[in-house]
């Protein structure tokens, strides 16, 4: 049994750890609210963008390099993680899904290149012996549209150059403060919109285009990709802070439990020592009487 002093010291250190986790929880909660607001604001735009593209695709018969499906010779997997840890299984879930996907692709005999967004993803890739094709750091925490633009630009350029024939993004989709789901989406080639689905909505009326169908397509497709990436970044951001909030909440609770059991132990030890001292005194008195 550890001595009284040691227990007191441990209680002290657990208490200060608890203060840290509690503060981190508060910070995460504040950041989370902000991130949640941003993603909720973006969603209607992203959805409308998709519906515009859908109605456009109904009538479009022209091709576009970003729509073209090539034989899958090399597939790019992008893992979207955070720069920081202490957020539960947030990063590991992504990487687990990424490694599983990589294995699957490789077992089909297709080449894989991997990129990571976020320091954690980059580190984990390197530890597993992968060399990231590209890694974007310093994004989580201050996501801006420019980040999405940069990433999209890089992807499109390499796709057009045929560095890879398919791009898959793995990110944490934000469901609620308690639920995040790992989501795997194919960014490129852009999924061809299903014609039968479109037809059921309304009779396909011929659209007028200004300046031209091709010009709008050229403009809208990369833009849509940017929005998709931006959305993923924001979803991941909100998920990260939510995950961190939960993790820190749990850590604070665990610290509370630990303090309680240590305090109990401390009191027991103190009581034992008092009892022992009393016994000594009584024993001494008894000895004197004789």
């Amino acid at each position: 049994m550890p001595g009284l002093k040691e227990i007191r010291k441990r209680i002290g250190s657990v208490k200060s750890t608890k203060q840290i986790t509690k503060a981190m929880k508060m910070v995460a909660a504040a950041k989370f609210r902000k991130a949640q607001m941003r993603i909720l604001e973006l969603r209607p735009y992203a959805d409308k963008m998709n519906s515009v593209l859908t109605s456009l695709a109904k009538t479009v018969e022209i091709g576009h390099p970003l729509l073209e499906i090539r034989p899958r010779k090399k597939i790019e997997v992008i893992a979207l993680t955070g720069d920081k840890g202490l957020c539960g299984a947030f990063n590991t879930n992504i990487m687990k899904a990424a490694f599983k996907l990589i294995k699957e692709i490789q077992s089909e005999g297709i080449d894989v290149s991997v990129s990571a967004i976020g320091k954690k993803g980059t580190d984990l890739l390197k530890r597993r012996g992968f060399t990231p094709r590209q890694s974007w750091l310093g994004i989580s925490g201050r996501v801006s549209y420019l980040n999405a633009k940069e990433i999209t630009g890089n992807i499109i350029e390499n796709y057009i150059n045929e560095t890879f024939d398919e791009v898959v993004l793995i990110y944490n989709e934000f469901k609620s403060a308690l639920v995040q789901r790992v989501s795997v989406v194919r960014l490129l080639p852009l999924a061809p919109v299903k014609a039968e689905e479109a037809e059921s909505q309304e009779l396909t009326a011929a659209f007028l285009y200004e300046p031209s169908q091709q010009a709008i397509f050229d403009n809208l497709l990369p833009k849509n990709l940017e929005i998709q990436v931006f959305r993923a970044l924001l979803e991941s951001q909100a998920s990260e802070e939510a995950a961190r909030m939960t993790a820190m909440e749990n850590a604070t609770k665990a610290a509370d439990d630990m303090i309680a059991s240590l305090t109990l132990q401390y009191n027991k030890a103190r009581q034992a020592s008092i009892t022992k001292e009393l016994m000594d005194i009584v024993g001494g008195v008894e000895a004197l009487k004789q």
């Binding site: 604001e41 515009v52 109605s55 456009l56 009326a205 659209f207 007028l208 200004e210 300046p211 709008i216």
Partner: protein, 136 residues
């Protein structure tokens, strides 16, 4: 609602406006266009400009910073990079942006001409819209 148009203006920063209106006029890249209920389906890119909407004899102005418009017979969807209603425009900020852009245009060798030009245009249109609103 009959003979009304549903106008939705959405930006990456949220929904700016969603209303039933009688008429919409917007600045397309190929020129200004007006939309009344029953318009032919139409998709266009938008440049930086002013969107005018008429609703029960009232006119409102909205600043739209480039994007797309999808027009269907009973609906207009504007996807803009950013948009502000006339009363939400920060005139002071626009004025200082205009001044900054003009200064940069004066030193062409130091700054990106196209960017300064675009900034100037945005600021000028914002100011125009905001001022048009005042006499009303």
């Amino acid at each position: 609602m009959e003979n009304k148009l549903r106008l939705d203006i959405v930006t990456p920063h949220g929904l700016v406006l969603s209303e039933d209106v009688d008429e919409v006029t917007a600045a397309g890249t190929e020129g200004e266009f007006g939309v009344l209920p029953g318009h032919v389906p139409f998709i266009t890119t938008l440049k930086v400009g002013m969107l005018i909407l008429r609703k029960d004899n009232k006119t409102e102005y909205v600043f739209v910073n480039s994007g797309y418009a999808e027009v269907s017979p009973d609906k207009v969807v504007i996807l803009a990079d950013s948009a502000e209603r006339a009363e939400d425009i920060d005139v002071e900020r626009a004025l200082s942006a205009k001044k900054r852009a003009e200064e940069r245009l004066a030193q062409v060798e130091k700054y990106d001409f196209a960017r300064a030009m675009a900034a100037l245009e945005r600021a000028s249109i914002r100011i125009q819209i905001a001022e048009r609103k005042i006499p009303r």
